[in-house]
Symmetry: C2
Subunit: 332 residues, 2 copies
């Protein structure tokens, strides 16, 4: 393999001069620079980035911890991450953690073993919290999308409470009083905030909370399907269902129609995320649009700022309620 010494020999200069000619062209004479560049070309020289990284102790890689790449919302976030990282010369080591905390911790340790410079965490879990990491060490991390309450790092999030409130208010404005909710995983702050927003809207409208209308889920279509089954079976079934993800909403709609009920005539359905399929469902899905790609881009921008020693501030991203045909006035 051609290395810097070969090039130096070919150009008749020292290795230091070659290095300088490539990295700080302005401090070598034009004549020498020419010679070096010609030698580089002739030898087909490409710097061994492993050596560069080793020397500079920077990998220019970022670890992204994603709960599941199969969720199309995260796919969009990752696209944004990828794009922003590439623009700034960073690579992305993607880690599909499947919600497995041990795996998250393991992947996060890529930073402490110098395989990556920092971490973007898309889930409310601090992979550095166990004792595998030196307590004082500042491990560059950004927590985005699902954010810890006491995040030990900068965060990028949505005002989930306000967004959930807005969806619920939309349903109430359509005359619905029995509104089911298909939630996310139990211990997620995201789920808690969205439920708070749901409750905010209910109490503002003077509607009592009925615990039976709350179903747990895990953001997958299957979970939505099963939760809808439960809700439909209630003696007083809801006339509207708010799902914490579009994927669950799709599953729920499937189950509702299977029962011979109609969306939105019998039951209105609202989702969250605005995934690509949301406008192709039958009927098209009312949902909260999140700027998924922007989440990714902003998280990366912040992480790189941290790595470069700049100060960063927490970010709250905007959302929009998209009213489509899956929600309609209550028929009762």
């Amino acid at each position: 393999m051609t290395n810097i010494r070969k090039v130096a020999e070919l150009a008749g200069v020292s290795v230091a001069t070659v290095s300088r000619a490539l990295k700080s062209p302005d401090i070598v004479s034009p004549v020498t620079r020419e010679k070096v560049l010609k030698a580089v070309d002739q030898a087909g020289y490409k710097p061994n980035l492993m050596a560069v990284q080793f020397r500079s102790q920077r990998t220019y890689n970022l670890v992204v911890l994603v709960p599941t790449i199969a969720n199309t919302f995260f796919a969009r976030v990752i696209s944004g991450i990828q794009e922003a990282a590439q623009e700034r010369g960073y690579g992305v080591l993607l880690c599909n953690t499947l919600g497995n905390e041990a795996m998250e911790t393991q992947y996060a340790s890529l930073v402490s073993t110098r395989q990556a410079d920092g971490v973007v965490q898309l889930r409310a879990f601090n992979p550095f919290s166990d004792n595998a990491f030196p307590a004082g060490a500042a491990l560059p991390m950004i927590n985005a999308c699902e954010v810890l309450d006491d995040a030990p790092c900068p965060t990028v999030k949505l005002d989930n409470r306000a967004a959930a409130r807005e969806v619920t208010e939309h349903l109430i404005a359509l005359g619905h009083r029995r509104i089911g909710m298909i939630k996310g995983p139990r211990r997620s702050p995201l789920t808690r905030d969205r439920q708070l927003g749901y409750q905010d809207a209910l109490s503002a409208a003077g509607i009592a909370l009925d615990e039976r209308l709350l179903c747990p889920g895990d953001f997958t279509p299957l979970a939505g399907y099963q939760a809808a089954e439960t809700l439909i079976a209630l003696t007083e079934r809801p006339t509207a269902i708010f799902c914490e993800s579009d994927e669950m909403a799709i599953g729920a709609m499937s189950r509702i129609k299977e029962s011979g009920l109609s969306v939105p005539k019998d039951i209105s359905v609202a989702g969250f995320d605005d995934i690509a399929f949301a406008s192709y469902t039958d009927p098209p899905l009312t949902t909260i649009a999140q700027p998924a790609e922007a989440f990714g881009r902003e998280a990366v921008a912040m992480l790189i700022d941290v790595l470069e020693g700049q100060k960063v501030e927490n970010l709250v991203m905007p959302y929009t309620l998209l009213t489509r045909a899956s929600t309609a006035p209550c028929q009762l």
Copy 2:
């Protein structure tokens, strides 16, 4: 940062002994090994993997070139890749190339600059074909899913022609004679093979090929939506449509219903891939199930075998026709 020398000092041995105690425990005495391990623990020592990699000239990273991560079929393939890579101690550098060839070539060059050991290419394009790479150099690569005809590397693929033929035969068996096809990108071998399979079935049944029934697409729901529009507008519209991806099938179904037509009563729709949503559409989608995760796992297994100097053979993966409610007997 604690390095191997600190540990050596702490344990009262040489750095070589520390290295050996960790990498080949059997060649140091039990007593010394104990001392070293205790020192490692005490110092909180973790080897600097950048140094290890630099020394061994192996990164234990694989580059994965994926056309678009937003397609849920690829999301499944990537899950498989991730899993297999992790099991064998490799990291995955995911590159969302968006079909941009310059970007593919750029990412592939991570291998020549020693940022990664090999490439898994999920698209029919040889990123090493331009002159940016030394001609003779053996750049470890596996081509999976969409495979080049003259791939310069081992491949993992489906018998797309046979699968497409099987779907088409299924439609013909239901009595359909005018069968539309929503295709993939023009120059893709995948699209060509699937069209050949479609034609095989037609000619076996004595049905003439009608070019107007062939619409180009790009695997997105929007493309399916638009292509369906074209097909519906034909004076003699098809009674069945075979889509080269489930995502396009979902878009097509949406457009068909928008026209007041019913699936499958007026038009049967079949897809390809069996993405997670395929069983939650209304009606559930008849499709070809591909072992997406297995594609990823096999590709990684093959790539690592190549990296380890073993011989590998091309692989053809199995498929299954899943008959669901979106296809029904022809009503004409």
